[in-house]
């Protein structure tokens, strides 16, 4: 099939960007979206021009690096997939496809479709861990039984890939789903409860400092999350934060 792509081009963080139109021909429905961009880039390179820069790595939906806003939605129209798992069979011959970077002030554009998500790393550095040394001299792994239901919920929260689709989709560019996933994972496990108070306060504080917006419970993040992280986690974060504030 043949398509028209409108892609955001921006040489670097300082310059202004614009949408540029590229036709692509002979796209196979079995291609992934990124393979279609690869094909476009091959053509651009052979013309001696600058190819479209985009983040990608594992191409199997787990590393969280790919981050395109396609036709008004993070990771495109399909559900529970990342951009690299989106296939061209979701589009029709003759379609015009709009491709933009994930936008938020906390995710400044580096080039074209690449954004800087190090704000997510800094939030994790503020408290997304259990303060235990990696010496191996801890107690036996089976010393503390954990209710299966809690362990499963902690796992579900922990499957967040940190792609930032939640921020990109939220009309407020809020990072609450991302932060709540980590807070939830640890607050559901006995190992994490020990420093739950400091963790939630520090992580929320860092999130605010990074310039993310406020959560207004629109629920867009949950729908667009490629891993289906639940809004329940945000409720849990709200609760944990309130309790921690009262405690301190």
């Amino acid at each position: 099939m043949n398509l028209i792509l409108k892609i955001w081009r921006q040489p670097n963080s300082k310059s202004k960007g614009k949408m540029v139109t590229y036709p692509v021909e002979n796209v196979s429905p079995d291609m992934s979206f990124l393979e279609m961009i690869d094909m476009l880039n091959e053509k651009i390179i052979l013309k001696g021009e600058d190819p479209v820069a985009f983040d990608h790595d594992c191409r199997e939906g787990i590393c969280g690096m790919c981050s395109m806003f396609i036709n008004g939605q993070a990771h495109g129209p399909d559900r529970l997939v990342t951009t690299c798992q989106l296939h061209m069979r979701k589009f029709r011959d003759g379609d015009t496809i709009i491709v933009e970077p994930f936008r938020a002030n906390a995710f400044p554009v580096i080039k074209d479709l690449i954004v800087d998500r190090s704000s997510f790393d800094r939030i994790q550095q503020a408290g997304g861990f259990i303060s235990i040394n990696t010496s191996g001299n801890t107690q036996d792994a089976n010393a503390i039984p954990i209710e299966k239901d809690d362990a499963d919920k902690a796992f579900d929260a922990a499957t967040c890939i940190g792609c930032g689709a939640c921020v990109a989709s939220c009309k407020n560019a809020s990072a609450m789903l991302f932060v709540s996933a980590k807070v939830s994972q640890y607050s559901l496990l006995p190992q994490g409860k020990v420093e739950a108070t400091d963790r939630v306060l520090n992580m929320v504080n860092q999130m605010d400092e990074e310039g993310f917006g406020n959560c207004t419970n629109t629920g867009a993040c949950e729908v667009e999350c490629p891993k289906g992280i639940s809004l329940e986690n945000i409720a849990r974060l709200n609760r944990e934060f309130l309790i921690s504030k009262v405690k301190t």
């Binding site: 001696g48 199997e60 080039k111 861990f129 036996d140 362990a151 499957t159």
Partner: protein, 682 residues
């Protein structure tokens, strides 16, 4: 040629003493304990004076960075991705082995050690593997304390599952995302140290070269991928945790950015590269769908527990299927060739990875491949669906002869076991695997070979270490499922942090490494001139053009089965391709901006050298073992034929100007505790 080499081996081997594996004395089970208690330690106040560079943030790199920082060293960690959490360890599905014996099924350190050695087809170093098995239990304790949400049973205790090639249940898992959970655990430990200022993290930075001063690794040259800045970083030791080189095949289950460059750069500066031809080809991957394909997707090996692998018996049926005139579901049982069950009645569909992969290739080469490219076989769940459905109907007291009901019930059971994998398959292939048999084909997955290291994980460059998949040490010629995660974390959390201290005791008075030293300047200039050369090349082919060509040569001639003729022609073809690359590659843009093509060009240029050494190593190894199958060395039934008398060694290659001039050193493998046997799955 071979004669020449062996002469040099002796001379070089003795002269430079490149190959001392430093295995401690004493009984196997005591080696690690005794070694730890004897090696030198750096005092806490002196650790503050020592800098360590870690390159890579997968399981090995992240765990090593975190632990070294906890111990008190100043750590600088580098990754080319935008965050350390993105390293490709994140994609590991199945699980992690540990000899905890929680299931009470007779597991022990010795049994895990033995299984790993045997799985590696007796080509790994005994002492290293024993140590790996020994610390495996600690890994699980550590990860649980860190908040890794492993699967649990209803009693709240950790659950285990069993994996290929072993007789016990020792695999810990977190659904199909074990690698992700373990990596995020190590990443969180790193984050804690970054927050404390003990780790300085360099995201989107690529290591361009190692700097050697007075025979010791003293730093690296890195490139900031965002603005192209070339930087010098000094340190008292350099640790490479840069993963495997499966992408030399272009199509593999590795991430797009996975590369050999860091390992190759140190190889060119004197580190030996061991067993480059030992590659694992995983049998259950989604087949290539066309020319546009950029990477391959793995499906967990657990599928072979319930799926039966087959191709049609008659070539006419193959033709009809390819033309879409016949549905595989309409083919009679008697017209199907369940070739694994036919060839290996004892193990059937559960033969090890290397055997299953080769058998699929054999059928497809004979013309029986079932998709348009001719490179796919069926993995059929209809028998399992039927069997489970009947059982379920029986349990529920329903009609076992109602075919529709049985199918529905059976599909439910299969969904509960493999639901996420089936969904993944459907997303990619756009076919419902509950109704139609899956199509699968082997794909490059893991590289057992890598930088040669001694027992302390130090390479042949002093002060330069290699851990995880980047080194060669623990998996021999074939890796067992769920062992890669175990090795990465063992090296990073529990082995390297001890052994590196022994070396660093001599550096407590060295002081900061001076990055204005001529060695740094020289290395920096070299890097810059390589970049300039690539950019100034006014060629007409893209980087991917060469990468794809290299991949095709590798896959066709150094892939699942190899022979002398093909390997020799591969060596020539790769050499010519490399020359063509340096003449005709085109890299757009400049070096002062984000330029992925430039980064790729550097990596592919290294793959083009490694590929040749890979083929050379495969040519020299005149035997079949593990993932390395030489057509000349097989039994009359077509099984791998090992040559223990002449090849029980690690081939460690020394760089000598060109891959073709590389010099082979042999590290003989001595097995004290175990008896070397033939593997048979008949």
């Amino acid at each position: 040629m071979k004669k020449n080499n062996s002469k040099k081996i002796k001379k070089n081997g003795n002269g430079k003493n490149l190959m001392d594996s430093n295995i401690p004395k004493g009984p196997l089970s005591q080696k690690w304990t005794l070694h730890k208690s004897k090696i030198n330690l750096v005092s806490p106040s002196n650790k503050r004076l020592i800098d360590i560079i870690v390159v890579g943030t997968g399981l090995a790199g992240a765990s090593a960075s975190a632990t070294l920082a906890e111990l008190g060293y100043n750590v600088k960690t580098f990754c080319f991705q935008d965050s350390p959490r993105r390293a490709h360890s994140i994609a590991a599905q199945g699980g992690i082995n540990a000899s905890k014996n929680y299931q009470g099924d007779g597991d022990s350190t010795h049994r895990l050690f033995y299984d790993t050695i045997k799985g590696g087809d007796y080509r790994s170093r005994e002492a290293n593997v024993y140590r790996l098995a020994e610390v495996s239990g600690n890994i699980i304790d550590q990860c649980v304390a860190q908040g890794v949400p492993f699967a649990r049973d209803y009693g709240g205790l950790l659950d285990n599952r069993s994996f290929g090639g072993v007789l016990v249940s020792r695999t810990f898992y977190a659904k199909g995302q074990t690698g992700q959970q373990l990596l995020l655990g190590a990443y969180s430990a790193m984050n804690r140290q970054i927050g404390r200022g003990k780790i300085t993290m360099y995201n989107r930075h690529e290591m361009m070269d190692v700097v050697i001063k007075d025979g010791k690794a003293r730093g690296i040259i890195s490139r900031n991928l965002i603005n192209g800045e070339i930087q010098r970083h000094g340190a008292h030791a350099v640790v490479l945790a840069t993963g495997g080189y499966g992408n030399v095949f272009f199509l593999s289950t590795n991430a797009m950015g996975s590369n050999v460059s860091a390992g190759w750069k140190i190889h060119k500066k004197g580190a030996l590269f061991a067993n480059p031809c030992f590659t694992q080809i995983h049998p259950t991957c989604i087949p290539v769908s066309g020319e546009h394909q950029s990477k391959l997707t793995l499906m967990s090996e657990s599928l072979r527990n319930d799926g039966r692998i087959w191709v049609p018996k008659k070539i006419e049926d193959v033709k009809l299927i390819r033309e879409g005139k016949l549905s595989p579901t309409d083919l009679n049982e008697k017209d199907r060739d369940y070739y694994l069950e036919r060839r290996y009645p004892a193990f059937g569909n559960l033969v090890p990875r290397d055997v299953a992969s080769r058998a699929a290739k054999e059928r497809c080469d004979a013309g029986y491949g079932v998709n348009s490219t001719g490179e796919a076989v069926y993995l059929d769940f209809s028998a399992a669906i039927n069997r489970y459905g009947k059982e379920e109907a029986h349990v529920k007291g329903l009609d076992e002869n109602d075919a529709d009901l049985v199918k529905k019930l059976g599909q439910e059971i299969v969904r509960s076991k493999y639901g996420n994998l089936f969904q993944m398959y459907e997303k990619i292939v756009d076919q419902n695997p509950y109704e139609m048999p899956m199509m699968i084909y082997p794909a490059v997955h893991y590289t057992m070979g890598g930088v040669w290291v001694d027992y302390n994980l130090m390479t042949s460059i002093k002060g330069c270490y290699a851990i995880g998949e980047a080194n060669f040490s623990d998996h021999g010629a074939n890796r067992l499922g769920a062992s890669a995660l175990m090795q990465g974390l063992a090296d990073g959390y529990f082995v390297l942090p001890y052994t590196i201290g022994d070396y660093l005791t001599n550096d407590i008075r060295t002081g900061k490494i001076d990055i204005s030293a001529p060695e740094f300047e020289k290395a920096e200039n070299q890097v810059k001139s390589q970049i300039n050369k690539l950019l100034k090349n006014k060629g007409q082919n893209s980087v991917d053009y060469y990468h794809k060509k290299l991949g095709k040569i590798m896959w066709d001639k150094c892939g699942m089965s190899r022979n002398e003729k093909d390997l020799k022609s591969a060596i020539n073809e790769i050499k010519r391709l490399r020359e063509d690359f340096h003449k005709n590659v085109f890299v757009p843009g400049n070096d002062k901006e984000y330029n992925e093509e430039l980064a790729k060009a550097g990596r592919v240029s290294d793959f083009l050298e490694l590929g040749e050494l890979f083929a050379k190593d495969a040519l020299e190894r005149n035997e079949s073992c593990g993932g390395h199958f030489r057509e000349e060395f097989q039994t009359p039934e077509g099984e791998a034929l090992r040559n223990d008398k002449n090849f029980t060694f690690v081939s460690a290659w020394e760089y000598n100007g060109e891959p073709s001039n590389a010099i082979m050193h042999k590290e003989n493998l001595n097995y004290q505790e175990i008896e070397v046997k033939t593997r048979s799955y008949k």
